[in-house]
């Protein structure tokens, strides 16, 4: 060994870690607004995107599909408040969405309430339901919490399927009675209004989630994701904060349910299934948990695939393939499942990480840890 004296290099200044506001970044805060505006005027375009949509952008079929996608984008963003930002793995989030759908449907169709009353009651009811069930479920944590929420959701599913008092229509579902609805929400020609409604819902959820996670409460939620015990010792009640997040997310989901009920024109037991909750999780992970746009992208993308793959499966392109390819490819679920798997390997961190992988400017944004 040789004695050596090496000049120590200057301490690393991790300036690349400091948030940057350079160049076009001045515009960035407005990008969401621009996107919103573009989405809002989309229905005025007759652009045809062959292969992507069946008809021009302003055709009812396309708008309907987009509306469904947007609602799920919002739903996923709301779920992310729980999962990505607070680290609570709930397997029962579909329950509050279903409560929104069935609540609206039953109040309008069976009780004959005007829409606005039904919607208000449903959202309030869904929020209270989330508050109550959350208060119980949050006595557990981790996988136990996931399973208790799953159990609650399962009870919801059983109740809907049992069709007590003929309220829910059981496995056949309950079509929405549109006779009392505003005329602007009924009929194929008015699909655009449903689209705007869905867009408004999505914008609202993104705004709320963004606002909340940037708020003092949001900081606590992020703390909870990492170390709950620590939060308690700092003088904050973890239970209260988790309950707030759970209730808020539940209320947002119920709101999504109201919109979805109008878009689809009824309720069917599909939405109470545990698969829906799992798909929510898939959407969020697909998009990138804890990121602003990831869950939205995930939700929209998932629903788009879910709807469009049926058409893909029966398309001529697939049918002309050799049997060993065309058979599986004509099964939408096969393609969907394969897409999930590939996404995990090709976009680790979700779709939202694509941007950071493409743009060197954003490369050093701190990666969010998945809890």
């Amino acid at each position: 060994m040789t004695d050596s004296m090496v000049e120590a290099p200057p301490a690393r200044v991790p300036d690349e870690l400091t948030p940057h506001r350079r160049g076009w970044h001045g515009l960035r805060p407005y990008l969401p607004l621009v996107a919103l505006a573009v989405a809002a005027v989309l229905p005025y375009s007759t652009l045809e995107l062959p292969g992507i949509f069946e008809g021009p952008l302003n055709s009812p079929g396309t708008l309907q599909l987009l509306a469904v996608c947007l609602v799920f984008g919002g739903l996923a963003a709301g779920y992310d408040l729980l999962f990505g930002r607070t680290g609570m793995l709930s397997f029962g989030h579909a329950l509050y969405f279903a409560a929104g759908v069935y609540g609206t449907d039953i109040l309008v169709t069976r009780a004959g309430l005007p829409l606005w009353q039904a919607a208000l009651l449903t959202i309030v009811g869904g929020t209270i339901l989330a508050g109550l069930l959350g208060a119980v479920a949050l006595r557990t944590a981790g996988i136990a919490f996931a399973m208790v929420t799953l159990a609650f959701a399962q009870v919801g599913a059983i109740l809907v399927a049992r069709d007590f008092g003929g309220l829910t229509g059981g496995e056949e579902g309950l079509p929405l009675d549109v006779s009392g609805l505003p005329a602007g929400l009924v009929g194929v020609a008015n699909t655009v209004n449903l689209y705007w409604l869905a867009l408004a819902y999505l914008a609202l959820v993104v705004f709320v989630v963004h606002r909340v996670s940037g708020s003092p409460t949001g900081r606590v939620l992020a703390g909870l994701r990492d170390d709950e015990r620590r939060v308690g010792v700092l003088g904050l009640d973890p239970y209260r904060f988790k309950l707030v997040a759970f209730t808020l997310a539940g209320g947002l989901a119920a709101g999504g349910g109201v919109v979805y009920c109008l878009i689809v024109g009824g309720a069917s037991p599909h939405i109470t299934s545990s698969e829906l909750t799992l798909s929510l999780l898939v959407m969020v992970v697909l998009g990138g948990p804890g990121t602003r746009w990831g869950p939205v992208l995930g939700g929209v993308g998932y629903m788009y695939l879910d709807h469009r793959l049926t058409a893909f499966g029966s398309s001529d392109a697939v049918e002309s393939l050799p049997v060993f390819l065309s058979r599986p490819l004509s099964q939408p679920l096969f393609v969907l499942g394969t897409v999930f798997i590939l996404a995990v390997y090709f976009f680790p961190g979700g779709l939202a990480s694509l941007r950071s992988r493409l743009g060197p400017l954003t490369r050093h944004l701190p990666a969010r840890r998945t809890p």
């Binding site: 375009s45 302003n58 079509p175 008015n190 689809v264 009824g266």
Partner: protein
């Protein structure tokens, strides 16, 4: 081409006398009911061929069929229906599952297009609204056929074994109305659709000692259910009636099959009509199955509607209401009041073993004999 348009544009239908007539078929190509859907579409193609005498045209207007997969999900079906309507489709048919039928029916009414529901068996489609018709049978007709197995019901004891949920409810209600109304005492044993172990229910049924057991069970657990009923001696102690499902399910009855009296909507050979022969000739494989007649009838109704109404949906409805035609099953009549489709039903026996089973018709009931009570048009 990028252009600006109105967000409320929808294509207007036809107008031009020689333009093709757009027909949208929204049914299950994938998902749990994919095999029902497959039969339906084969039947539809055969029926279209039959009703247009091989031309695929009504007058000089071609029938342009668009098929959309709903994967059994009402939300997808609604999207598809809206898409089709937006593109000017005036006739929608399909609906393999009841949930889909019930959600699409109101869409048809809201947009004033014709909807011809397919294999979906729920009674609620009948009389749903004046735009909605059906090309298949309904649960009530099944039950009336079941009743024909016990002769005079007065004083008899009937047990319904059905799964929870709307399907079971409908069957139980129908049995109470049809057989109970005719003087039998009807009780029911219900089980969760998710049940996998049927012994408790079999015990309950056995201790009830019914004269007739009516079983309404759908799904993959059916074979286990039949085996348990057989093992616990239910099948040999009473007359057991149930609906005969698609051919693929026949071997799953196993030994129990011979001990069951089947009511049947349709099986290959149930009737030897002109339409059945035509259908047999057209259908891939040459063997008809449960839901081929539904697709076939749907095509016949579509052709009739176009003949009578052109592009005018009101005229189509007028043309269909009260119409009698010769379908695969025999004479079918669309009742004007509630659009119920009166049609023959069958009693059948299953024989055979291994994977080779044959159904033979014991008796057939006419459309009038199995007619459901006349209902009110709801919407």
């Amino acid at each position: 081409a990028t252009a600006c348009g109105s967000p409320q544009d929808t294509a207007s239908g036809g107008g031009d006398g020689a333009a093709p007539v757009k027909v949208g078929l929204v049914y299950s190509q994938s998902g749990a009911l994919a095999s029902y859907g497959k039969q339906y579409i084969e039947g539809f193609r055969a029926g279209l061929d039959f009703a247009t005498r091989g031309t695929g045209k009504v007058g000089d207007r071609a029938i342009e069929v668009t098929e959309v997969d709903d994967a059994g999900d009402p939300a997808k079906a609604v999207s598809a229906a809206k898409d089709l309507i937006g593109k000017g489709t005036k006739i929608i048919a399909g609906s393999t599952s009841s949930g889909v039928a019930l959600q699409v029916a109101p869409i048809a009414a809201q947009n004033k297009v014709l909807f011809i529901s397919g294999p979906a068996a729920t009674d609620a489609v009948t009389g749903a609204n004046r735009y909605t018709f059906r090309s298949g049978r309904q649960s009530y007709q099944d039950v009336v056929t079941a009743k024909s197995f016990i002769g005079d019901p007065t004083g008899k004891k009937v047990v319904v074994f059905a799964q929870d949920g709307a399907f079971g409810d409908a069957n139980e209600a129908a049995v109470k109305a049809v057989i109970g109304g005719a003087g039998a005492t009807v009780s029911s044993v219900r089980a969760p659709a998710s049940a996998t172990e049927f012994t408790p229910f079999a015990s309950q049924i056995r201790s009830a000692k019914p004269d007739l057991l009516f079983v309404a069970w759908a799904g993959t657990t059916a074979p286990a259910m039949w085996q348990t009923l057989d093992q616990q001696g239910v099948l040999s102690s009473t007359t057991v009636v149930t609906g005969l499902d698609i051919r693929a399910s026949w071997p799953t009855f196993g030994a129990a099959g011979a001990k069951i009296s089947f009511l049947s909507h349709w099986f290959d050979g149930a009737a030897d009509t002109e339409a059945a022969k035509a259908a047999k000739a057209k259908v891939p494989g040459g063997t008809l199955d449960l839901f081929h007649p539904d697709g076939f009838a749907a095509a016949q109704m579509v052709v009739r509607a176009v003949e009578q109404g052109g592009d005018d949906v009101d005229k189509m409805i007028k043309g269909l209401e009260g119409w009698s035609f010769e379908g695969v099953k025999g004479t079918m009549t669309i009742r004007a009041e509630d659009h119920a489709l009166l049609q023959p039903m069958f009693q059948a026996k299953l024989t055979g073993s291994g994977s080779a089973y044959t159904a033979t018709a014991q008796k057939s009931l006419t459309g009038d004999e199995t007619a459901p009570p006349v209902g009110q048009m709801k919407g």
